[in-house]
Amino acid sequence: MDRQKTKNVQLREKNAMTRTISSLSLTAVAAASALCLLTSAPAQAAWEPTRPVEFIIPAGTGGGADQMARTIQGIITKHNLMKQPMVVINKSGGAGGEGFLDVKNASGNPHKIVITLSNLFTTPLATGIPFNWKDLTPVAMLALDEFVLWVNAEKPYKTATEYVEAAKAANGAFKMGGTGSKQEDQIVTEAIQKSSGAKFIYIPQRGGGAVAVQLVGNHIDSSVNNPIEAVAQWRGGALRPLCVFDSKPLPYADKIADGKSWGDIPTCKSQGLDVEYLMLRGIFMPKGVTQEQVDFYIDLFKKVRETPEWKTLMNEGAFNTTFMTGAEYAKWVENEEKRHADLMKDAGFLANQ
């Protein structure tokens, strides 16, 4: 019985391996096949990728976008949702600008998709690089990422109100850690300062994981980590969530730590901290692709959303699972861009300010 099982595993492994190796060699000749593609696009019933699909992450390894993209790659491979392999590539340079420009310059290429975070808006606004989300084709919103106010569990603050009072009393000496500069974490911090009147020293770090560790080590006083970046430390009893920056409590009732679930965290608004912020986790393609090609990916991501692994990820990270496509999605992105432009203008984060 066991031997049979092992044999099966080995067989499957062999298959997987052949696939991976062919994906490697395929990537190597990707440039060559780009030329062939021009001549080999006859009208077919439903479009399908004809060579490996590049999945660009405009952020470094280990962050939230990276975790999500690699999970998606794993799901697609494991469930055989696509005939061609998917290759995940991190292009994190220039706060993701490198990745976005790469997709912008690949106009008409249906074998490239990109996952976005708020740097879709913040990077061009803060650095002035020649890029706008309108240089891309929106495919689908996969989820929205929540933001939570975290403190070290050794600290006495049990509520956001207590914490904000302490921060005010400290007269600007409290340190807020966050990912990057003039990006989502600092925007949320600015909004907290504006709403509460407390002042923080904002300390930018490279990634969300690093921020959580600095908080555990008491090198900063608080963070606005995404749930998935800090959940492990919460479960380990090192961090405490105070409030969530959403309009209503999170819909997850599974107990995580101290007998509390994500749903037990009060909204910041109910704590007198009138700040709401959600971050896009969405998929875009280059400009100049056909509707058929967009539809293929919409369909693909619908299938991904049905898998148990995806549901586990959503649960772990307490994501808001709103799904949007087409015109509705484009409209949402447009509003969000305006909101970011306003927020960043108020904070003095714009490149030409």
């Binding site: 595993v9 997987a16 280990g62 220039g94 600008g97 000496a173 020293i201 490279r206 492990a232």
Partner: protein, 502 residues
């Protein structure tokens, strides 16, 4: 404690299943190939091969992936020694004495020393992980921005004055590195620096591009100038070399032990394997009796950096397991894999997933043993590469370098930059500017700058944060001593009443 040892043996029994041993060999071989190809690197390699493991049980999968990691660590030394092309940042220090040894026809000895030292370093770190994991994890949390900066400061300081070249040339070379490291986005302000509106420069200069160019292409240019003679062709190629080298190695046990400790400390702190290897080489050079000969092909100069790098690389996995925080990009990719296997990384992994954690730790022991066997049996094979005439192998190296440079970011611009760095490397070598400080500054420059500015933000501009507690002031003091060591040494010998030498 006893329970843990029981768990470890349970882990061994899991790791020793025939399927898992097969997976181990496969992982090591794939890893060595990844390590040999510059640019592919551990993180990319693991990411590409990750889907391969989704159909396995989590324990087999992590055994395979960690073996790829060990394999890549071993493989990095091969190109450093044979061709002076470090495939990974922590292999740079290995080239200092490893490549001269190969040129003298002692490639087999150098490879054996490198592999064996890697093994010793990794084994030491695994034993530390087994015995004191929770304690050590807490130590890692003590490192805030100021402490991190002090570690980088120590790494830079132990380098100045270490080179054969005049200290000012070292400093000049280091500052070119700092300038190059500053290109791209400044994490602290979110502003672009030194890109001059030129889009390809957004991402700054990747260390790998610089190293492949400076060392690899530069070396090829030099060899061409010297008339295509490939030194080291007469390397002995049989397995006796391994035994003979092993007879010599125990002499360096002090260096070895010191390098292990430096490595474990750097790996946990987590400054990483690169400062560990440089620091260990620097200190070995200072303290060794044959220190003045370092750089000309001393075996001790291979032992020190390799031991430290691998102790650090292994110890870096500890924060990942105990804190859920990846200590390196490779560890980050591994973490992503955990999720697919249905495991929750983080502080509770040790409690909730005992079988997995101890299976992994057991595979660290066995994977290293398997790795050592695989690479040592291949030593003659690797050394034989040097017998191929240079005019045949040079184009091959050039092509591998170009592919490596392209792979880093899938960008043709990087290949062009590699060639530019190659010319720069050639010029610097001809004018006797040391390359290593430049590379060190590119690798660690922006991290050091970031931590320095984070510290100053936290202290609101006060420099006193760098001696605000015992830990940070000790490391800073060590750094200053290392920086002024040549002066201190000179003063000391003058103050001491000269013995009857006159």
């Amino acid at each position: 404690m006893f329970e843990d040892i029981g768990n470890l043996f349970q882990g061994f029994s899991v790791a020793l299943q025939p399927f898992n041993i097969g997976v181990m060999f496969l992982g090591i071989i794939l890893g060595v190939i990844i390590g040999v190809l510059p640019g592919l690197g551990g993180a990319n390699g693991v990411a590409i091969l990750l889907p391969l493991t989704f159909s396995m049980s989590p324990t087999s999968a992590i055994i395979m992936l960690s073996c790829i990691y060990w394999g890549a660590l071993f493989g990095g030394a091969i190109t450093s020694i044979l061709f002076n092309i470090p495939g990974e940042p922590w292999s740079v220090a290995t080239t200092f004495d490893g490549h001269p040894m190969a040129q003298k026809g002692k490639a087999g000895e150098a490879l054996t020393a490198a592999f064996t030292s890697s093994f010793v370093g990794a084994l030491f770190a695994v034993i530390m992980i087994t015995l004191v994991a929770p304690l050590v994890a807490k130590f890692a949390l003590k490192f805030g921005p100021a402490e991190q900066f002090s570690v980088y400061f120590l790494a830079f300081c132990s380098f100045v004055g270490m080179s054969k070249e005049p200290p000012f040339k070292t400093v000049a070379s280091m500052f070119i590195g700092f300038a190059l490291a500053a290109v791209g986005l400044d994490t602290m302000t979110g502003q672009l620096r030194l890109t001059f509106g030129f889009e390809p420069l957004l991402g700054g200069f990747d260390f790998l591009i610089a190293v492949i160019g400076l060392f690899g292409i530069g070396e090829i240019l030099l060899t061409i100038e010297e008339g295509l003679a490939f030194k080291g062709g007469k390397a002995r190629i049989n397995l006796k070399v391994v035994i003979q080298t092993w007879k010599e190695l125990p002499k360096y046990w002090v260096t070895s032990l010191r390098s292990c400790l430096i490595g474990v400390w750097m790996g946990i702190s987590p400054a990483g394997a690169t400062p560990a290897s440089f620091m260990s080489y620097g200190i070995a050079k200072r303290t060794s009796k044959t220190g003045h000969k370092f750089g000309t092909g001393e075996i001790e100069g291979v032992v020190a950096p390799e031991t430290a790098a691998h102790a650090a690389g292994t110890a870096a996995l500890l924060p990942m397991l105990a804190l859920g925080v990846p200590g390196s990009p490779t560890a980050a990719v591994l973490l992503g894999g955990l999720l697919i296997w249905g495991l929750q990384p983080g502080p509770l992994l040790f409690v909730e997933q005992k079988e997995f954690v101890w299976g992994l730790i057991a595979s660290m022991y066995l994977g290293n043993v398997v790795g050592l066997i695989v690479v040592l049996t291949c030593v003659p094979l690797f050394a034989a590469i040097l017998r191929i005439p240079f005019s045949i192998i040079a184009p091959v190296i050039l092509v591998i370098c170009a592919i490596g440079a392209y792979t880093v970011h899938n960008s043709v611009f990087d290949v062009v930059m590699m060639l530019v760095f190659g010319v720069l490397g050639y010029i610097l070598k001809k004018t006797n500017y040391p390359l290593a400080p430049l590379v060190l500054a590119i690798v660690l420059g922006d991290k050091a700058e970031e931590n320095f500015r984070q510290s100053l933000l936290a202290s609101q501009g006060g420099l006193s944060i760098f001696w605000s507690n015992g830990l940070v002031s000790t490391i800073m003091a060590l750094g200053l001593i290392a920086l002024f060591w040549p002066l201190i040494g000179a003063a000391w010998s003058r103050l001491r009443p000269a013995p009857a030498s006159a």
